[in-house]
Symmetry: C2
Subunit: 291 residues, 2 copies
């Protein structure tokens, strides 16, 4: 059974940067004051567990917290949450992905220029909440063009996109907007690395017999990769760690493709590769191995 | 044989307006000074012939013309042509379609705002020449997304569209631009009436057995209607007048659809309807007639 790993599986620039900031802050931090993130810093439970060992807690809301240090997660936080934290005397360390930051700033620019802002993405995703949360007027968040039906038509529409969305979503929404609006200004805020990761995963999925997509079950960009591979007609499994592998997935398969989300550490991808190489699938002669 | 006429066959707002301006100017004009258009005022030879009877000549270039009156055709004229005419002491009467005017102004606005301007349309069409001709930097004119391949990528792209293009062309180009550029500002300058005419023609073509598309052979919007009907899988014929009808087109057909371009006068459409109703197609029992 041959194993092919996508060239861009694993941490993206923004995740690497956020983790460096978080580990540095945790190391430097005075241990008796709280240091925390509001929601996980990235969507990978294994990495978050490692950070917790370093003293970085994850809280779900600010509750009655005052003081201490908050690392702003890679997905960013809505402006009013940041203001609330400042009012509570909490020090902020910003680990927002610079590409998410750009999406936030572009959305603000569009609102300032008088455009009705549309964000293409998942309504409840923390990144989208952080983009929408910076605007003085409510933005419209839509996942696909069909969600525009029934919404009021605006003459001037400004569009940004969740950084990890597939380009096809943005294109489809803009196409439908062109039927409804006279003027459309679009910032393609999709992260280039995400786009390339998706293109690579899709290319691999079309070639191999089974695809493993490694990453947090709570990671939207990992789930998206898995969905794209399935849509390409490939047997695809979304796993967090090598423990979840099942030998029957590989029965009669000749080539396995492996990719990982932007928040998946290399050591977890490597673990999965080793585990797959060690699997003797039922009916596998074991004659072929990784090239 | 049933005959169905599309509800919006015939003159559009801009053509009606241009012809009113032209006929009024011709009537008021002092007969011994030249009055002319540079290129036909609209793309319909029969209407242009009627205007010539009123003294309105069509010239192909300004040559050594000085003085007189020039009616600016419905498609508009490039700025430097207008400046040349003014220098020659020619009076200008502007019959540019207001929607074309808007496309010209939007393209200028985009150029002023620092966007690389893309015009979606036919490179040699007078309207496109008039839009491109108002800009200080050369615009890129493209008919479809494939024409972008090989062109240099721009970070900021501004898009306008020839007013009579199908929306699908604009959408396809914007979709491809989103793969290449960070910021795209689009003015959907497609004329609403043209869009509705195309939707109606397409609906009719899908229902009837044969479509007649009536209008100037030099009329891009009429040719476009004909092409859309053919692409819908319908037998479709582009004719200028009833004289071109051939009985064999209607052999074994039960329903005929008729539409006309934006520059096709009602009397020519009516002539075609009467002629079709009078045709005894080979094998037609003549039992059915127009509802």
């Amino acid at each position: 059974m041959r194993v092919s790993v996508a060239p861009c599986a694993g941490f993206c620039f923004g995740v690497k940067r956020a983790l460096k900031i978080a580990f540095d802050a945790a190391h430097k931090h005075v241990r008796n004051a709280p240091i925390f993130t509001l929601g996980p810093i990235i969507h990978n439970p294994q990495v978050v567990a490692k950070l917790e060992q370093e003293g970085l807690r994850v809280v779900d809301d600010l509750g009655d917290l005052t003081g201490g240090t908050m690392i702003v997660r890679s997905h960013g936080l809505p402006r009013k949450v940041l203001e609330d934290a400042r009012r509570r005397g909490i020090d902020l360390v910003d680990a927002t992905c610079p590409f998410v930051k750009e999406a936030q700033e572009r959305a603000e620019q569009l609102a300032d220029e008088g455009y009705a802002v549309v964000i293409v993405g998942e309504e409840d995703h923390p990144e989208v909440l952080s983009i929408a949360g910076g605007l003085s007027f409510p933005a419209t968040v839509i996942a696909g063009p069909e969600e525009l039906d029934g919404l009021p038509k605006e003459t001037k529409v400004g569009v940004v996109c969740q950084t990890t969305q597939p380009l096809g979503h943005l294109t489809a929404v803009v196409g439908r907007l062109l039927e409804r609006s006279k003027e459309i200004k679009v910032f393609n805020t999709i992260c280039r690395a995400t786009f390339e990761r998706q293109v690579n995963a899709l290319g691999l999925a079309r070639r191999v017999d089974v695809m493993l997509v490694v990453g947090g079950k709570n990671s939207a960009n990992t789930r998206r990769l898995w969905k794209l591979c399935r849509e390409a007609g490939c047997d695809a499994y979304h796993i967090e760690t090598a423990e979840e592998l099942k030998p029957e997935w590989f029965e009669g398969k000749e080539e396995v493709g492996i990719t990982g989300g932007a928040s998946t550490p290399q050591w977890i991808v490597d673990d999965v590769v080793s585990a797959v190489e060690g699997i003797q699938a039922p009916g596998d002669t074991g004659e072929e191995s990784r090239p």
